[in-house]
């Protein structure tokens, strides 16, 4: 298949690489139909994030169609033919962090967690196409992608929405949403958003679209009844 590979600082190439295969029983393989490029891909591109290796496939914001599932995948959650958006963190669904819906803190999905722990002081979850510190998983800027714990993370899209309407569910919208939620926006707050990237723009459009009076990049009006606060978020 064709895949976008990191070949050194500020250098990427589309290369021919082997198609992915099932390595763990709960893996699925998806045929990628769309993928976004993340602002944080730049940190990998320029060599800022350590433990990139030449030939690593990049990309952590893909979506596509399931073409193969491993024998351990829960068939009530995911089947061949499903259309799915793939969240960028890999989550096992079984550890204490996942049970608390803190999926980006999954305690099991990173086979290189010991190395991350040594460098950061704490382990991190596995992430697609995001250096070997986060597991050494091939990314989704490719024709096909192996998805571990495929019955946990992937969001099955059952509607006739276009790829462009749902692709942002992989990283960009939830990242902006999390930023807005962590601000604990209260009625009457005036909110300044630094950076005009996609996540930031969704940070101000997300509350605005549910709020009573629209929004602009510089101010947001939200009410407690329309914008969930962290303590109201169901677990």
């Amino acid at each position: 298949m064709k895949a976008l590979c990191w070949t050194g600082p500020n250098s990427v190439e589309v290369q021919d690489v082997p198609d992915p295969t099932i390595l763990n029983a709960r893996d699925a393989i998806i045929r990628v139909t769309s993928t976004a490029i993340c602002g944080s891909d730049l940190h990998l591109l320029d060599g800022y994030v350590p433990t990139m290796q030449k030939g690593d496939v990049m990309g952590h914001e893909p979506m596509g169609e399931v073409v193969e599932v491993g024998p351990g995948v829960d068939a009530t959650k995911l089947r061949v033919g499903d259309r799915v958006v793939i969240p960028f963190p890999i989550a096992c669904g079984a550890c204490a962090a996942c049970r608390a819906e803190l999926y980006s803190c999954c305690e099991n999905s990173n086979p290189n967690a010991g190395i991350a722990e040594k460098m950061f002081g704490h382990p991190v979850a596995g992430i697609f196409g995001y250096s070997h510190l986060t597991g050494g998983f091939a990314g989704g800027q490719a024709e096909y992608l192996r998805v571990p714990f495929a019955d946990v993370g992937p969001l099955v899209i059952e509607s006739d929405l276009t790829d462009e309407q749902v692709l942002f569910l992989s990283d960009i919208l939830p990242t902006g949403y999390m930023g807005a939620e962590m601000c604990d926006i209260q009625p009457g707050d005036i909110v300044a958003v630094w950076g005009a990237d996609r996540s930031a723009s969704l940070r101000w459009t997300a509350p605005g679209s549910w709020g009573p009076s629209g929004s602009s990049p510089s101010t947001i009006r939200a009410t407690a009844s329309t914008w969930p606060r962290p303590r109201d978020t169901p677990r």
């Binding site: 082997p18 295969t21 496939v57 079984a94 099991n108 086979p111 010991g114 091939a138």
Partner: protein, 179 residues
């Protein structure tokens, strides 16, 4: 040399005790162990990989077996490296399952063999046991050791650094990993 490590798993102590009581399961997540098999009541035969492609083997006896709480073992006879191990299961606070505390001790001999053993464990011997317990947690919580394109060999992940690139493996590479 004494190594200790602890992990917390979201499973009850009784289940973890049952898991460890079958010592034959240890090689699925402990990197240096190739095989552990029971040879009789409270007796087992252990085979481990050693530096330079060698293997070491020894007989062990279970020295302590408290249901749901603790298991301990110790090498017997003329083992090359006398060693002992203990695992304790403590209920974790907040309904978070079980703290699994493992202690391994090795009576490192003097001379070339002792130096080889020390080199094998490297400058940070605790790291190896930490990784073993991380994989143990993967096995009991998710069913198997997690693999990636960079670390396709599962429990051999650390030995593989620098790793295979994070790109799918070729048929030949897959065959080698599965052999």
């Amino acid at each position: 040399m004494k190594l200790t490590s602890t992990t917390t798993v979201l499973r009850p102590p009784e289940e973890m005790y049952t898991f460890w009581r079958d010592l034959g399961r240890l090689p699925t997540f402990m990197v240096h162990l190739d095989e552990v098999r029971e040879t009789g009541p409270g007796r087992s035969h252990w085979r481990a990989s050693a530096p330079f492609g060698q293997t070491v083997e020894w007989e062990a006896a279970t020295t302590l077996d408290e249901a749901g709480r603790r298991i301990a073992w110790r090498s017997v006879g003329d083992a090359d490296v006398q060693n002992a191990g203990e695992v304790r299961f403590v209920p974790a606070p907040g309904s978070r399952g079980t703290e699994v505390h493992v202690t391994l001790s090795y009576d490192v001999p003097a001379g070339p063999l002792g130096r080889a053993v020390a080199k094998y464990f490297g400058e940070e011997p605790h790291q190896q046991l930490d990784d073993d317990l991380r994989r143990f947690k993967q096995v009991v919580e998710t069913g198997e050791v997690v693999r990636s394109d960079g670390a396709p060999g599962g429990k051999r992940a650390r030995e593989e650094f620098p790793q295979h690139p994070a790109r799918p493996l070729s048929d030949d590479e897959l065959a080698e990993v599965r052999s």
